[in-house]
């Protein structure tokens, strides 16, 4: 008989559970219902009392100022204490940076196993997890005999659980945590050095800029400044998140003209991120990186490219416009500006 623990954490403000944590709650509720298993939710937060309202199941929580910060030593101790209190056979949590930093260590301390970047939890009577290998190129479903089994779920794979504040919990219990000596202090968050934030995980559209923006245009000149203006203008008007091909980001290190607001954090693909957005628009991209790996979890996909024969877009994009992205995006911005 399985028992399930869903580990959650508060957001930066400490006032609410993260959206991704609530997605894990949904996954936990679905799995518990399917397996007729006992479900417990664990909360890591400085002040968890008000966060448990509406979760509608047994809640265990650690509390105290050390848990306001995302730090290995404290978070690992907290998650370990929550698991020891719950003694669950399956532990679900979101694959946030906070939990990804610690959960393998916690699984090790619990004598269990861990799998991360899980996209679906299936199986008939058994539990099977689906995840991707080789940077989103090969998909595998796997099962484990080892318990406890820790599963970190990718964000965006489940609907967030809708808490109804009017519902009180069956049980709420504070769990004591023995902390090790702390050698690390979190001093804050730092945004990339750029005039505005271009990475927006909740955006409906991912705009991917490729190296073509910095290449010579039909007049024989490069127009990097114009490209930068067009892209930033589009991001401001559309609210899109900005992704980039590796080749474009790498140009900065090779002494070429670059778009100053791009960093490696924007990079999608093999050595970048694989973001989840409902729509994606790739511009001036060529190759497998943006169109296959970086686009794996993009819903509707369109591309603007001068290369009518780019094989990478065929079968990967819904629509390919063979056109000059400078002209198209200039007109797109005019149209968006007029709305």
């Amino acid at each position: 008989m399985e028992s399930i623990l869903v580990l959650t954490h508060a957001d930066e403000t400490g006032a609410t559970l993260t959206r991704a944590s609530l997605e894990a709650v949904t996954a936990g509720k679905e799995l518990a219902a399917r397996l007729s298993a006992e479900l417990t939710i664990g909360i890591v937060a400085a002040k968890p009392q008000h966060l448990s309202k509406g979760l509608r199941c047994a809640v265990l929580a650690v509390e105290g100022e050390p848990f306001a910060q995302a730090r290995f030593a404290t978070d690992a101790a907290a998650c370990e204490a929550l698991w020891r209190a719950a003694q669950a056979t399956i532990v679900l949590a979101t694959h946030s940076s906070r939990f990804a930093r610690v959960m393998a260590a916690v699984a090790h301390r619990a004598g269990g196993a861990i799998d991360t970047h899980v996209t679906t939890i299936g199986g008939a009577e058994d539990v099977e997890a689906t995840r991707w290998y080789y940077r989103q190129r090969i998909e595998a479903a796997l099962a484990r005999a080892t318990r406890p089994w820790f599963l970190l779920l990718d964000a965006g794979t489940h609907a967030p659980f809708a808490c109804e504040a009017s519902h009180s919990n069956v049980e709420e219990m504070a769990i004591p945590v023995e902390l090790p000596p702390l050698r690390t202090e979190v001093t804050g968050l730092r945004a990339p050095q750029q005039s505005q934030q271009t990475i927006r995980p909740d955006a409906k559209l991912l705009f991917v800029a490729g190296a073509g923006w910095t290449k010579k245009q039909p007049d024989g000149q490069v127009h990097v400044e114009e490209a930068g203006r067009l892209i930033l203008d589009f991001l401001a008007k559309s609210g899109a998140s900005l992704g980039s091909s590796k080749s474009l980001v790498d140009q900065g290190g090779e002494g070429n003209s670059v778009l100053p607001f791009l960093t490696h954090l924007n990079q999608v693909g093999q050595t970048g991120s694989t973001p989840r957005h409902p729509k994606g628009l790739a511009t001036c991209c060529h190759g497998e990186e943006p169109h296959v790996v970086g686009w794996r979890f993009i819903g509707e996909r369109r591309a603007i490219s001068l290369d009518a024969n780019c094989g990478w877009t065929r079968g990967k994009a819904d629509v390919v416009y063979v056109a000059d992205a400078f002209k198209v995006m200039k007109r797109v911005n005019e149209l968006l500006g007029g709305e």
């Binding site: 990475i199 819904d318 007109r331």
Partner: protein, 272 residues
């Protein structure tokens, strides 16, 4: 004031990212078709860790750098012919299976055991580096498990920068959600740092460094311990390539105005 460090980089080898991959079944479970003959490279994020480690070691005289790598001996030798020309290091090879499908827990146990056999390793000066995720399994757990097995209580993942201070402490930038970095200050070694891209370009090949490295790499490869990785209760139900092939509409004759109009309408529409 420079601090001598003992930096260990854990780095696997993966198929060159430009290769087409096809899953297959082997006697030991899932694998990649023709994996042994595909060109291989040092795992990209782990390579960033190696270059950052070499840079840090160069700035802190008396520091030492090891590269711990698990893979088939022949593939390790092939990759080392290139990597050895980049930066100076001592190789600790483990002759074992290649690929992303073996269990991470078993891999971590093998790496931790190899690290524990390094003679005269000073754990108080140890910085354990690696990629925050591999390009094969991509789980981001192996380095963390190695750190846990070595009893290291300070771990950082998605690292893009480390600044060592005069008192031995360091400031570290880790990637977090929303394109931001979390800034932390750690009292000093020992610590685990799983690197993302970092800030350094790939060093140019230096044949002199390569020749010096290869003098120790070849004997180390000859003496590499051969291991098998236990499945540890892991069972693959299915392994497959994604099948979704889209019907791509290629528009060659639309004007920029027409395309822009269609894109703006598409952006404004709710997703299916």
């Amino acid at each position: 004031m420079p601090h001598s460090l003992q930096i260990i980089v854990c780095a696997g080898i993966v198929p060159d990212p430009l290769q087409t991959l096809e899953p297959t079944t082997t006697p030991n479970g899932p694998g990649i078709k023709n994996e042994m003959v595909l060109p291989a490279v040092l795992d990209p994020w782990a390579a960033s860790a190696l270059y950052e480690a070499a840079n840090l070691a160069a700035k802190n005289p008396g520091s030492k750098l090891w590269l711990v790598s698990l893979g088939p001996k022949a593939k390790l030798q092939q990759v080392m012919m290139t990597i050895a020309q980049k930066v100076a290091f001592e190789l600790v090879p483990i002759d074992g299976p290649i690929g992303g499908f073996p269990d991470a827990q078993s891999t971590a146990a093998a790496l931790a055991e190899a690290i524990q056999t390094i003679p005269a390793l000073d754990r108080d000066k140890l910085l354990l580096f690696g990629g925050w995720e591999s390009a094969s399994r991509g789980a981001g757990v192996t380095l963390q498990l190695v750190g846990e097995r070595l009893g290291i209580a300070d771990q950082f993942q998605g690292v893009d920068r480390i600044d060592l201070r005069d008192n031995g402490s360091f400031e570290v930038l880790e990637r977090v959600e929303g394109g931001k970095h979390q800034v932390s200050v750690c009292a000093g070694a020992p610590a685990v740092l799983g690197w993302a891209t970092g800030n350094l370009a790939e060093p140019r090949n230096n044949p002199q460094v390569g020749m010096t490295n290869m003098r120790t790499i070849m004997p180390a490869l000859q003496k590499a311990k051969t291991i098998a990785l236990a499945a540890d209760g892991l069972r693959y139900v299915s392994v497959s390539l994604p099948k979704q092939q889209r019907e791509t509409r290629v528009e060659k004759h639309m004007t920029p105005d027409e395309i822009a109009g269609e894109i703006v309408a598409w952006i404004g529409k709710d997703s299916q």
